[in-house]
Symmetry: C2
Subunit: 262 residues, 2 copies
């Protein structure tokens, strides 16, 4: 069974994509809302939190883990593999890089994410390894206000459009060919992001790339099991969380409190 | 010696005010950046965090505690007094309410803060008790994006002005007489907040009201001790934190890592 975690509710965009394409998948989701967001925190803190999050999911019976958070995928994978050498991890960066690899004639790629993700340089490093092409240029921009804007549900407000235009201005100027949405919150801002860039820019979002990878590499995890289990845990529960989560997922959810062994 | 805590760097506006008016004050500051922000979290979580924060400050030798965070002042004071019945606590709400009490002819008061602070209703309750005047109307507005805007250091950007105008529009419409900045981050946005409201609106900020209260009720804490100690701890340290903190305080600070007993 899949265990899926994120710092908060952003990883629900991964759940949404799973439910859209394989609605009978069993999973347990953990959002670490009591310590969210991870995006401005240090690698050491993020690594420690991720290890605790996975301990919770394994105790719930998860066998394979989706790191549905770009910040943790950038900074915590090594810590996770060391702590749980028997467990298979799926991160959100690998499939996004693979999806880019399939686009033809890329010259300039933009990457946006949290401050911690961008500072880690993980996308640049992984893209350069994968493309193996020194003529491709990569432009990275941290967009720290995008997560709070999504959590405020200001998805299409004029203020959000202005902020998007300001953040993405350098990418527009460099005339990028493709943009990686390097944060699981960002697919919800895709319409606003799209209008801030040239029309021809191809947008790669990690939830959809990740589910494609799961379909290919681990179809058994998306298959119908003998008992359907879809559970949501948050380390800090509030009616607002269920409300936002429900709106994103298009269904009513009733989450439970997840107590981490600190 | 004073112990001062906040969820992150916002409480440094209290430190700034102390340094301005009583520069020889000894204190230990703790910013719980590893779990910041508190403003969208539940009362239970905030209470638990505050109790852990104070344990750290007491272990550092603090004798009196400033709760330099409106969210914790709204939601965690009872938990703190129960956990530490011998300790004197100064919160940021009491002095703001007292300062309002001294303004003449108030009819309409606006209060802005984080979602958790506004949802708690603490300001409304305390103001109504204090003013004891049923003809005074109170209008509360949560401004969840203000904290991330401050942490992004977007203090005077056009985007920030637009967001401020959008949040404060109901207060402008109600023609409030005074506004309480119910979050220790907000004094940094005061110029933008001021231009979003009618000119005659009187603005009360809690850091300055709090230091006035300390001068009156606990001058010994602000007096010159035999050894000056001014230390900054953060539960998640990063060069960026020191940089932002230094810019706000107008001095170079070198913070240390604060490890909480979880």
């Amino acid at each position: 069974m899949l265990g899926i975690f994120d710092s908060g509710i952003g990883g629900l965009t991964v759940v949404r994509e799973i439910l859209r394409r394989a609605p009978q998948t069993s999973f347990v989701y953990l959002g670490d809302t009591a310590r969210a967001p991870y995006g401005n925190k240090s690698a050491e803190t993020i690594g420690r939190y991720a290890v605790e999050d996975v301990a919770f999911l394994l105790a719930q019976g998860a066998t394979d883990i989706v790191v549905a958070c770009n910040t943790a995928s950038s900074l915590a994978l090594e810590a996770l593999r060391q702590a749980y050498p028997q467990t298979r991890f799926f991160d959100v960066i690998t499939p996004a890089v693979a999806a880019l690899h399939e686009l033809p004639q890329l010259k300039k790629i933009g990457v946006i994410g949290t401050r911690a993700t961008i500072r880690s340089g993980t996308y640049e490093k992984r893209l350069k390894e994968s493309l193996n092409n020194s003529s491709v240029q990569i432009f990275s921009v941290a967009c720290p206000l995008f997560v709070p804007l999504v959590e405020e549900n200001w998805l299409k407000r004029p203020e959000t459009k202005r902020i998007a235009r300001a953040y993405l201005q350098p990418l527009r100027q460099h005339q990028i060919d493709a943009l990686v949405l390097g944060c699981t919150h960002y697919p919800l801002l895709e319409p606003v992001i799209r209008t801030s860039l040239q029309k021809r820019v191809q947008i790669i979002d990690s939830p959809s790339a990740l589910v494609s990878q799961l379909e290919k590499e681990a179809p058994e995890l998306l298959a119908v099991g003998h008992e359907l289990r879809q559970e949501y845990f948050f380390t800090d529960t509030s009616p607002l969380t269920d409300q936002i989560a429900g709106r994103w997922l298009g269904r009513i959810i009733k989450s439970r409190h997840g107590e981490l062994a600190g």
